[in-house]
Symmetry: C2
Amino acid sequence: MPDVKNDALPGQRPDQMPEPDRLGAELSDAVVLFHEAIGSLMGLSAADHKALGILGREGPMSAGELAERTALTAGAVTGLVDRLERAGLAGRERDPGDRRRLVVTASRPGDPRVAEAFAGLGAAMAEVTAHFSPDQLAAIAEWVALTSEALRAQAAAIAARREA
Amino acid sequence: MPDVKNDALPGQRPDQMPEPDRLGAELSDAVVLFHEAIGSLMGLSAADHKALGILGREGPMSAGELAERTALTAGAVTGLVDRLERAGLAGRERDPGDRRRLVVTASRPGDPRVAEAFAGLGAAMAEVTAHFSPDQLAAIAEWVALTSEALRAQAAAIAARREA
DNA sequence: TGATATCTTTTAGTCTACTCAACCATTTAG
DNA sequence: CTAAATGGTTGAGTAGACTAAAAGATATCA
């Protein structure tokens, strides 16, 4: 069974890992690789990309909330949003209800190369899907959900231990 | 079926995505989150973490090769290896055959917290595995392999288009 | 209304990691 | 054996992004 745990474990080369771990490590690497490729295509640093991900996932939020979610200071968030805005990836709007507040919204990237990249991945994934029966796909979906949860929980545990 | 393509696509919120895409995005996010947690636990920047990943995956290599693989200059690699060495994550050795060359080797992290984190993930994943039959696990393993390949291919395509 | 609190931006200073170029050490070629 | 080439390090200078603190704008409360 696949498993992601060895991805960042140096000192053990892929060809020495048990098969399931190797697969997990490869998936993890591939995800990160794709992330990086998209990021560099957009001209974003990892931190900016992460912030954009938060915005995309959780929807528009105020600068202060974004600061909290990214663990940055308010000043740093101003610069962050500047960069995203300049790249055409996010927008600033004043909150009509409270005009001190700022609402930062992720906008769909206008860059056609980015759209193309996602379209390419979509097509490739459609092909992957075609290899499996509905039952198998259901199992895969469940595995993905459980694995995501496990990864999140571990990440949270690490962060918690870090605080202590 | 799961699909990773929307992960970095802002402008579409998770609750508006089709189910399979949402799952893929979540897995992708979770992988990245875990990566970051481990990285911060080791006190590594994203770039350092990436370099360590290359070393772990491809085995020991010379500083020059590492420079090429990371797209950094020679000087920057010196600093990079300094940091990794200081953190106890990599070692420098002179190549006995050509004593100008340096062989950089990733070493298993001595930090018990890192080992603990990986052990925790291993246990969690074992539990996930227990939910599935051997046939299902086989399908999952295949999906993971195919998806990794697709992600890698897309990342490579992006990089190639970028050069042009 | 005036005082105070909240949210963001600005400014000044710092830190880190990078590039480029000069510099050692070693190897290879003439 | 010297001259040129190769591999890595060192040092100067630079750029980007961060923090902290002051400032600006708006809101809330008495």
